[in-house]
């Protein structure tokens, strides 16, 4: 039979048995829609993990001095300018961004009542700012030990939206970047409970410069040396910024370290971030780094992978459950086709008399199953996507805020839709395989004579 004739006959038969097929494909629709729902949910959560919680930059390698320090005296193992030069020469490395920790402790005392009244008045005028929040700021009394590090400004290009991220002239506030993760945790749990304003792109420009005391500690009150008061100004948020502190321009940290620890403290870095243009060169570069005697910090990647793996496992469980539903639906499809073939026995016999081969009959039944599968799959995808949209709407609206609460809980990779239809068709074909074989083997002489 010509393919066009087969397609036409399939459509004709499907229209005729519409009700049977609609009922038998309900299971397929339910299974595929739950498959879409759970995979989309897993995909959305993994996206949040990999972009918000543990942002992975596939083309960057974090190089640290070797973990075992027994031979740290061996020349060449310290991460200094010379080492950076050697790292930069590794074939495939396009850029090296050093990071340096602030070598002296620092403290910050945030006393709301000491904020200039004009700054508080400006805060009160910001959109979204409530009187309770302004009161919360006024009552603020926080004493913090602050950790800080310095970062190459090129690495955070684009993150410093509200000021120049460079070592400032004497007497001017030091520009700092806050970790996006830290801001998220502050906004969704700390600020809410204490009626403090959330840190946002609206607020940051209006946050006054804050006091920071260098060479000071609340833990060790007997510290020697001069305490130096400076001011810091938040100029943006960044995924590269220190999670539990603030990130300053590298030159500022180098200058402060030199001031308190001498030239040696200003020459050794704690980390270097290497940029590699394509991921296929990563393994070669990693090998070269280890060859130079340095370690690669993969803690972030491992954490992201662990969380991603856990999400994948849970998603897989639900996905298998969905596929089990589709498999049960395929059994239902098989029953429907056995019933339809029994009812259409004479019709099949007639088709054989009119010139249909066994292969034509098998193709016709499998074609009908395939079309039921495709339509069921599409309906399942539509239903699943609709369920995702509704659940997302409800979750965004009614779930209490929590750190990294996304605006979109679901992710829709293109393969999800393709595999939804493919799975549905495959299961329907599997269900119809045996009935199709039976239909093809029907003896036309017997069926036409009613035997």
């Amino acid at each position: 039979m010509k393919a066009a004739h087969l397609r036409r006959l399939i459509r004709q038969n499907l229209r005729r048995n519409r009700k049977n097929f609609v009922f038998s494909s309900i299971g397929i629709v339910a299974g595929i829609s739950s498959f879409v729902f759970f995979v989309a949910l897993g995909s959305g959560i993994k996206r949040v993990v990999s972009t918000e919680i543990f942002p992975l930059e596939a083309n960057r390698i974090q190089v640290v001095p070797p973990a075992a320090q027994f031979d740290a005296w061996v020349p060449g193992r310290a991460l200094d300018d010379e080492a950076l030069g050697r790292l930069a020469k590794i074939p495939g490395v396009t850029a090296v961004y050093p990071r340096m920790k602030l070598s002296v402790p620092a403290t910050m005392a945030l006393i709301g009542s000491q904020f200039p009244p004009q700054d508080l008045a400006r805060l009160a005028g910001l959109p979204g700012m409530t009187p309770a929040m302004v009161e919360g700021v006024k009552k603020l009394q926080v004493w913090m030990e602050i950790m800080a590090d310095g970062i190459d400004p090129r690495l955070v290009k684009g993150d410093a939206l509200f000021g120049d991220f460079a070592d400032p002239p004497f007497g001017r506030p030091i520009p700092v970047l806050l970790s996006k993760r830290l801001v998220e945790i502050y906004n969704s749990s700390f600020a809410k409970v204490r009626a403090l304003p959330p840190i946002s792109e609206v607020l940051i420009p209006y946050v006054p410069s804050l006091p920071l005391t260098l060479n000071d500690s609340y833990i060790d009150r007997d510290m020697s040396g001069t305490r130096i008061p400076v001011r810091i100004k938040v100029v943006g948020t960044s995924h590269q910024a220190l999670l539990g502190g603030v990130t300053m321009p590298l030159d500022t940290v180098r200058r402060i370290n030199r001031q308190f620890g001498g030239e040696a403290a200003a020459r050794v870095y704690d980390m270097a971030i290497l940029e590699v243009p394509s991921s296929d060169k990563l393994s070669g570069v990693q090998q070269a780094i280890r060859g130079l005697g340095f370690d690669i910090d993969t803690s972030q990647k491992r954490m992201a992978e662990s969380v991603g793996f856990a999400v994948t496992l849970v998603t897989l469980g639900f996905t298998l459950l969905s596929l089990a539903m589709v498999a049960v639906a395929a059994v239902n499809i098989a029953h429907t086709f056995f019933m339809i073939i029994y009812e259409r026995k004479r019709e099949i016999g007639l088709m054989r008399a009119l010139g249909a081969s066994r292969r034509d009959i098998r193709g016709l039944i499998l074609g009908e199953a395939g079309l039921v599968g495709a339509l069921g799959g599409l309906a399942g995808i539509a239903l699943g996507a609709a369920a995702c949209a509704v659940v997302n709407l409800l979750a965004v609206r009614f779930l209490p805020d929590f750190p990294f609460k996304p605006h979109q809980f679901f992710g829709y990779p293109a393969w999800l839709f393709v595999s939804g239809v493919v799975l549905s068709v495959a299961f329907c074909l599997a269900g119809a395989f045996s009935p199709a074989g039976r239909a093809a083997r029907l003896d036309p002489a017997s069926t036409l004579s009613g035997r």
Binding site: A353, L354, S357, D443
Partner: protein, 225 residues
């Protein structure tokens, strides 16, 4: 047109076996009208099914339109049924959800031609069998005689050389049966088709060129021989 040599067909095995045909040999020239008569269970329908390539589980040799049916695989045999043979059944076997035109055009699905031309051809054969004004009627809206005419039109759709009719008047009253027989005679005489009709009513098909009587699976009479 038809050369059968030593055709035997049995259903079941061993003690349970029923012999439907026992070493039947006959020849039917092209362009004749043949009637096969016999009592119920004499093997008439089985013989017709074998000639039409619907039943292949037989012993002996069946050569139809120059082709040995045993030599053909399923696809070839299907093409043979589609292009060479037109079947007419006692129970019409019309599909209730299709109208007359669509029932007739069903044969087009298994043919090589362009299916878009099928309605045109279906109308042509329906006009030939005298159903010009019943094209869009569904089987439930047609009389027995009209249904059988639709079935004949369906058999004619692919321009076969051989029409095999199994008790074509079995479900019709005498008058309507006579009209259907007249149609077969006209197809035979005017269109030159070979018609083999099975019937248990000997009075019908009086003008058959050849008459074969079967009894208990054997040919007991053949006129002319």
């Amino acid at each position: 047109m038809i050369h059968l040599t030593g055709i035997s067909r049995q259903y079941g095995r061993g003690a349970q076996a029923t012999h439907a045909l026992r070493s039947v040999s006959l020849e039917v020239p092209t362009g004749v009208l043949v009637k096969i008569v016999g009592t119920s269970g004499s093997g008439k329908t089985t013989l017709l099914n074998i000639i039409g390539g619907l039943d292949t589980d037989y012993a002996g040799t069946a050569v139809v339109a120059g082709r040995n049916l045993k030599d053909m695989g399923d696809r070839e045999l299907s093409r043979f049924r589609n292009q060479t043979v037109g079947f007419v059944f006692q129970h019409f076997h019309l599909l209730e959800h299709l109208d007359a035109l669509q029932n007739v055009a069903l044969a087009a699905f298994f043919a090589e031609g362009d299916i878009r031309r099928a309605p045109e051809r279906a109308e042509e054969v329906l006009v030939r069998v005298g159903l010009k004004d019943k094209l869009r009627r569904f089987p439930g809206q047609l009389s027995g005689g009209q249904k059988q005419r639709v079935a004949i039109a369906r058999a004619l759709f692919n321009r076969p050389r051989l029409i095999l009719a199994d008790e074509p008047t079995g479900n019709l009253d005498t008058r309507t049966g006579g009209q259907v027989i007249a149609l077969f005679q006209s197809l035979n005489q005017e269109d030159g088709l070979t018609v083999v009709a099975v019937t248990h009513e000997e009075q019908l098909f009086r003008r058959a060129d050849k008459s074969i009587r079967l009894e208990d699976g054997r040919v007991v009479e053949m006129n002319p021989t």
